[in-house]
C-alpha cells in the first residue's frame, strides 16, 4: 500500500470540494447534521473541510486492512470503480446505474457490491439489489452480497444477502414506478423532510404558484 494513493485521495477531495462549491447554483447552502459548539452552522463547509479528510483516511485504512478485496473487472477489463451501466428492463425501463465498487474476494472468488456513504446508512439493501440487477443484465454477474461502506466509521455496515431481493421483484418495482411517471402521477408527500427539501420554494403544496400544474384543465380532460 502506498502513501501516494492516500495523498492522491486527499488531493482529489480538496479539488472536488472546491469545484463543487464553484459550480453550485445560487441559493442558500443546506447543511446536514446538528449544530454543535464547534460547528454552530451544522455540517457546513468548515465541517467538511475538517471531517472529509478523516473519511478519506478511513477509506485508505479500510482498503489497507482488507487486502483480500480486489477491484472486480468487467469481462472487457474495466475496473468496477464508479462503473456506469445502462440496461433495458421489461416495461420499457432503461435503468441507469453508477456502481461505486464491485470487489472480488481473492480467496473465494466471491463478488460483493459496495456503495460508499458519507451520512447515515440506508435502512435496507434495495439500492445494492438494483445494482445487482444491472450487473446481472449487463455482464451475467450477480453478486450475492452487498454492503454500504460508511465514511464516518470507516467500516462496512450490514452485509446484505441480496437473494432477499429477488431480481424479478426489483424489476417489477422499477417498472411500476416508471409506469407512474409515464402517467404523470406526481403526488406531493408533505412531511417533516420538507424543511430540508431543496425545491420547497417551488412547491405548490407549500404555496408556490410559478410551476404548479394546471389542475383545472387536468380534471376537465379526465371528465371528457
Amino acid at each position: 500500500m502506498s502513501a501516494v494513493a492516500y495523498e492522491a485521495g486527499l488531493a482529489a477531495f480538496r479539488e472536488t470540494l472546491a469545484e463543487e462549491e464553484a459550480k453550485a447554483p445560487d441559493g442558500p447552502w443546506r447543511a446536514g447534521g446538528r449544530a454543535t459548539k464547534a460547528y454552530p452552522n451544522k455540517e457546513d463547509k468548515a465541517w467538511w473541510l475538517a471531517e472529509g479528510p478523516t473519511m478519506v483516511h478511513n477509506y485508505y485504512n479500510w482498503r489497507q486492512q482488507n487486502p483480500n478485496l480486489d477491484i472486480w473487472h468487467t469481462p472487457e477489463g474495466v475496473p468496477a470503480i464508479e462503473l456506469g451501466i445502462v440496461v433495458n428492463l421489461p416495461g420499457g425501463v432503461t435503468l441507469k446505474s453508477y456502481i461505486d465498487r464491485v470487489f472480488v474476494d481473492k480467496a473465494t472468488g466471491q463478488t460483493m457490491i459496495v456503495d460508499l456513504k458519507t451520512g447515515k446508512p440506508p435502512k435496507a439493501g434495495l439500492q445494492l439489489a438494483v445494482y445487482r440487477l444491472a450487473l446481472q443484465q449487463q455482464f451475467g454477474e450477480a453478486p450475492q452480497y452487498g454492503a454500504y461502506w460508511m465514511g464516518r466509521q470507516g467500516t462496512l455496515d450490514t452485509v446484505y444477502n441480496l437473494d432477499s431481493y429477488p431480481l424479478p421483484m426489483v424489476e417489477r418495482w422499477m417498472r411500476d414506478v416508471k409506469k407512474a411517471i409515464d402517467m404523470q402521477v406526481f403526488v406531493p408527500n408533505i412531511t417533516m423532510m420538507c424543511d430540508y427539501c431543496g425545491v420547497k420554494k417551488f412547491c405548490y403544496a407549500h404555496g408556490a404558484t410559478e410551476y404548479a400544474p394546471d389542475f383545472a384543465s387536468d380534471l376537465q380532460e379526465e371528465n371528457q
Partner: protein, 61 residues
C-alpha cells in the same frame, strides 16, 4: 415501445419519497438549492476513486 427516459435508483427513491419533488427536479428541472452534504459526499467519492485507481496502477506496475 421506445424507452423515453432513464430511471436510476436515485430517481426511483425520489419519486417514492415525493412525487412533486420528482416532477420539479426531473421534469420541470428547477434548480435545487446547493447542499454541503452533496458537495462533501461527491468529494469523498472522488477521493476514494483516486485511491483505488492509484492502487490499481501500482498493482499493475
Amino acid at each position: 415501445m421506445e424507452n423515453e427516459t432513464y430511471l436510476s435508483h436515485s430517481q426511483f427513491t425520489t419519486w417514492l419519497s415525493c412525487g412533486e419533488k420528482y416532477r420539479l427536479t426531473k421534469i420541470v428541472k428547477v434548480q435545487e438549492d446547493p447542499a454541503w452534504y452533496f458537495a462533501g459526499g461527491t468529494s469523498v467519492h472522488a477521493a476514494a476513486d483516486a485511491i483505488d485507481h492509484q492502487l490499481l496502477k501500482e498493482a499493475q506496475a
